[in-house]
């Protein structure tokens, strides 16, 4: 099994064999602190997550709603950095070779780190793909092209505003899978209807052979199951981050139940996804 895009391809191949969709879970690195984040990451495969979107905290997350904004702020207050994020990935990877880790965030911390140094360190840590919200195809030379050259997957977001004319542009240079953003809006907003999601996934499938995962607005095991019926993966972010938040003490610090509560919620999502096509 390869690292980088190879690990993602292998994961989707094995999901296809199992005849089911995957569950992607978003958490923010360092939310609410590095040790808790490490414990969450370590527990996610056992709780049934097939893939992690690991948020690189940023002060100005332009595409995120209040829940994920606050998660970023908790992480930054706790001293999390991009270096620290990669250290968490590295620690996890020592105990797990199978679950893809997709680093998700905004470009400025990466640009500040230096694109080459970042790709070297991220691959070395065991990260497999990147989702960088504010790098559309128009800016592919920044990070996408250098990443692809080194077999780091670059996963693009397709949205309800990406029409058929634009879709080929978005799909060029995309690898690993396509992330369909189900609602025009920020994370944590309302959910799209099943019909809309089904239609959108069918449309994407006409344009690409890559797996299609759907995120934004999936909050419950039932919704995750609905998506898992039609897509190759369901990605849940805000609801998981809210589970973390719900377990914190008055100062936003972790408690004895933070890890177990959060992983408990992930288990219910995984059960939804795994039962979807049964």
């Amino acid at each position: 099994m390869g690292a980088g895009v190879g690990r993602i391809d292998a994961k989707f191949a094995s999901l296809r064999q199992e005849g089911r969709a995957g569950l992607g879970v978003f958490i923010t690195a360092g939310d609410p602190d590095a040790a808790t984040s490490a414990a969450l990451l370590k527990g996610l495969p056992g709780a049934g997550a097939d893939m992690v979107e690991f948020g690189m905290p940023f002060t100005d997350p332009m595409a995120d709603g209040p829940a994920i904004q606050e998660a970023s702020q908790r992480a930054l207050r706790g001293g999390m950095t991009l270096k620290g994020t990669l250290a968490l990935v590295k620690e996890f990877r020592q105990g797990n070779q199978d679950m893809p880790i997709i680093l998700m965030g905004y470009y400025n911390p990466i640009y500040s780190y230096g694109v080459d140094a970042f790709l070297t360190d991220a691959l070395d840590a065991g990260a497999d793909g990147l989702i960088v919200v504010d790098l559309p195809p128009e800016e592919d030379n920044e990070l996408c092209v250098p990443a692809l050259k080194r077999d780091m997957a670059f996963i693009r977001l397709a949205t309800p505003t990406t029409d058929d004319k634009r879709l080929p542009k978005v799909l060029t240079n995309t690898s690993g899978f396509v992330y369909y953003v189900a609602v025009a809006g920020i994370t944590g907003s309302a959910s799209a209807s099943n019909d809309m999601i089904t239609g959108a996934v069918e449309r994407l499938k006409r344009h690409t052979d890559l797996p299609v995962c759907v995120g934004f607005g999936i909050k419950t095991p039932e919704q995750a199951a609905d998506v898992a019926k039609v897509a190759d993966g369901a990605i849940v972010g805000t609801a998981v981050v809210n589970a973390i938040k719900g377990s914190l003490d008055g100062d936003g610090g972790a408690t004895a139940t933070t890890v177990s509560d959060t992983l408990g919620f992930v288990k219910t999502l995984a059960a939804g996804v795994r039962g979807a096509r049964a």
């Binding site: 930054l76 400025n108 504010d134 559309p136 128009e138 800016e139 505003t161 634009r166 609602v183």
Partner: protein, 408 residues
Amino acid sequence: MASPAPANSLRTGPDENGHFGIFGGRYVAETLMPLILDVEAAYTAAKLDPEFQREFEYYQKHYIGRPSPLYFAERLTDHFGGAKLYFKRDELNHTGAHKINNVIGQALLAKRMGKTKIIAETGAGQHGVATATACALFDMECEVFMGAVDVDRQKPNVDRMRLLGAKVHPVTSGSSTLKDAMNEALRYWVSKPDTHFYIIGTVAGPHPYPAMVRDFQSVIGIEAKAQMLEAEGRLPDTLVAAIGGGSNAMGLFHPFLDDTDVALIGVEAGGHGVDTDKHAASLTGGRPGVLHGNRTYLLQDDDGQIAEAHSISAGLDYPGIGPEHSWLHELGRVQYVSVTDDEALEAFALCTRKEGIIPALEPSHALAHVGKILGDLPKDHIVVMNLCGRGDKDVDAVIPKLEAKGLL
């Protein structure tokens, strides 16, 4: 007045992808990409349409009140005892600042595109007021995002926006100032892509905004050039303007970029001093990064996290700057300096007493720098300063500070 651009002109940017050198670009989420491509296509067409130009000029003249005067500030010239100081009086525009120049242009563009719902961010509230005004005029729905800190310190403008029928959303995320208002406006726009037009208030944001806002503001420099030729029979020697995002400065400077004998000086907000962590001088104290859709100089920490800016002036309290300024800074065509909160306050008081003009805190920064250089320049040297806004909005905030300093 505009002469054709020479081969090595500095006025031809940006390139087709919105880059000024390495700066600018379109660093936005995919949801917004189709929208800004639409805006770009519509603006490109409008620029070539004489009817659009005619309509724009009609409102400039009859509604905004352009041209704004170029005024010889004789008492301040005497006071400083050196070069001659002229004010470009954009504070006399309808709504009291240069912001309306750009807003009318974008509102006409929105109308052309069939959009009737408008979003804006605002710091000092001048852009918000101008947008609320244009929306009343053109019968459009208006929502303005404003940092909660700014809502407090620029209350008169919040009231004006409400009177004009706009809905003001106080923003409490991050530092609760202009940067966060822009984040929130972008977040809102992503959720209303089909119906809303975002009127950005400065030469920042993703392409085409920096170029479009500059074009709409360039009337300032085009007029100043003609007026100076009429008043003095020659071009000025030095232009000075305050910089928040940089729209009043770009508007004044751009028509002069190829007149290499004219020195251009942009004045950033130095807050408590650029050697402290409380200032808004992104060129002096920042480095290149990516925020709000473009690459530009930003105040940020070692990890690429955006720092909170500080300025007494809500309109300058922004950790970035328009990308074209970053480019001109690296080329060395424009010199960027900074002045502190205290220096700006003193200039505010001085202008009020010497010229009978209450300036906004933003151009008070420009005047503070003028005060530092004017006395040492020869008497036949001519300086034009952009007096880009009036200070009514700042009166409540400034009075206790002037009293504390014994200036009132």
